[in-house]
């Protein structure tokens, strides 16, 4: 295994840990995005650019937007609840 691949795997493990440890849901959604980016780096390092692009759009765009939308809906009863 290349050193770069090991670094990428450690980065993913660290990101996953951070997602679990984040207690606030909005913050967790943002941390998840960063974790998704670490997965993108992992896929690029392992030479899977197609999967990397899919991971990028899902964890960078689709998932956080749906998640933040749902969180805002649940918190939205009080005025100006985090968008």
């Amino acid at each position: 295994m290349e050193p770069l691949q090991i670094v990428a795997m450690l980065y993913v493990a660290l990101g996953a840990l951070c997602v679990v440890l984040a207690r606030d849901v909005v913050r967790q959604a943002l941390v998840f995005s960063l974790y998704g980016f670490s997965l993108v780096v992992l896929f690029v390092v392992f030479q899977a650019p197609d999967v990397a692009l899919s991971a990028l759009v899902v964890s960078g765009i689709a998932y956080p937007l749906v998640l933040v939308g749902a969180i805002a809906r649940c918190h939205g009863q009080r005025k100006g609840g985090g968008k």
Partner: protein
């Protein structure tokens, strides 16, 4: 449930999961070793057989197009379910509400970013058979371009660009077009979703045969689906903030 019972349930589950994990990991093939023959065969045959440079998209929209159709319909069902559930709870039309962003700098940069994202999305879809990318990735980026309009400009502008009445037909056209292409191949005497057009020259935009049209219809389905989900959530949130939600 007392703490002791919880602890017992948790630890028994932990032992079971750990045993499965150890068993699974210890039986993995060695790192970097690929056992199956199919990947190697496809990588060798995709250029001479289909004139496509990107083997992954070739598998997704040509060799394994039927499988992707199922994934497309799953997204279609999910987006429809979100729209159905959220509309049930909302009793007012929200298209007249104004939720503008006042910062000119943000509006300008946002509009520029939306345009750049839109072009990038078309590029990702169009080059699906040449470079990494394709209908799914490009479709999500396309819907992100519309989401950017909301995030940096105005709710009403987003509503005009990507309202449900626009996103719905786009999604339906994409998902329906995918199935239609499969049936068309059947009608022409090929297998379901088999590539029935000339393959073209490898590396050109027009290469890919009918799989290129499948690619574009999947981009429509994905972007329409995600735009529909976003717009339903946004309408819902705006309606809640203006106190326009029924029971």
């Amino acid at each position: 449930m007392t703490t002791r019972v919880r602890l017992a349930v948790f630890s028994s589950g932990l032992v079971l999961v750990a045993a499965l994990l150890v068993d699974g990991v210890s039986n993995l093939p060695p790192f970097g070793r690929y056992a199956g023959p199919y990947g190697d065969i496809v990588a060798r045959l995709v250029e001479p057989q289909r004139h496509m440079a990107n083997a992954v998209t070739a598998v997704v929209f040509d060799y394994r197009g039927f499988d992707t159709m199922g994934e497309e319909l799953i997204l279609f069902a999910a987006a429809s379910a979100v729209a159905l559930l959220l509309r049930e709870m909302r009793d007012h039309d929200t298209s007249d509400l104004v939720e503008g962003i006042r910062s000119d700098a943000l509006r300008g940069v946002g509009a520029l970013a939306a345009i750049v994202t839109f072009v990038l999305a078309l590029q990702v879809v169009a080059h699906g058979f040449i470079t990494p990318g394709g209908g799914f990735q490009g479709g999500v980026v396309l819907s992100a371009a519309f989401a950017l309009v909301f995030l940096t400009n105005e709710y009403r502008a987003y509503n005009r660009l990507a309202s449900s009445s626009f996103a719905e037909p786009v999604e339906a056209l994409g998902a329906g077009g995918y199935v239609f292409l499969g049936l068309l191949a059947l009608a022409l005497g090929f297998g379901f979703l088999e590539n029935f057009l000339p393959f073209g020259v490898t590396g050109r935009l027009r290469s890919g045969g009918s799989a290129a049209i499948v690619n574009w219809s999947s981009a429509l389905a994905v972007s329409g689906g995600f735009a529909l989900i976003f717009s339903e959530y946004l309408q819902e949130n705006v309606a809640v903030r203006h106190g326009r939600v029924g029971k």
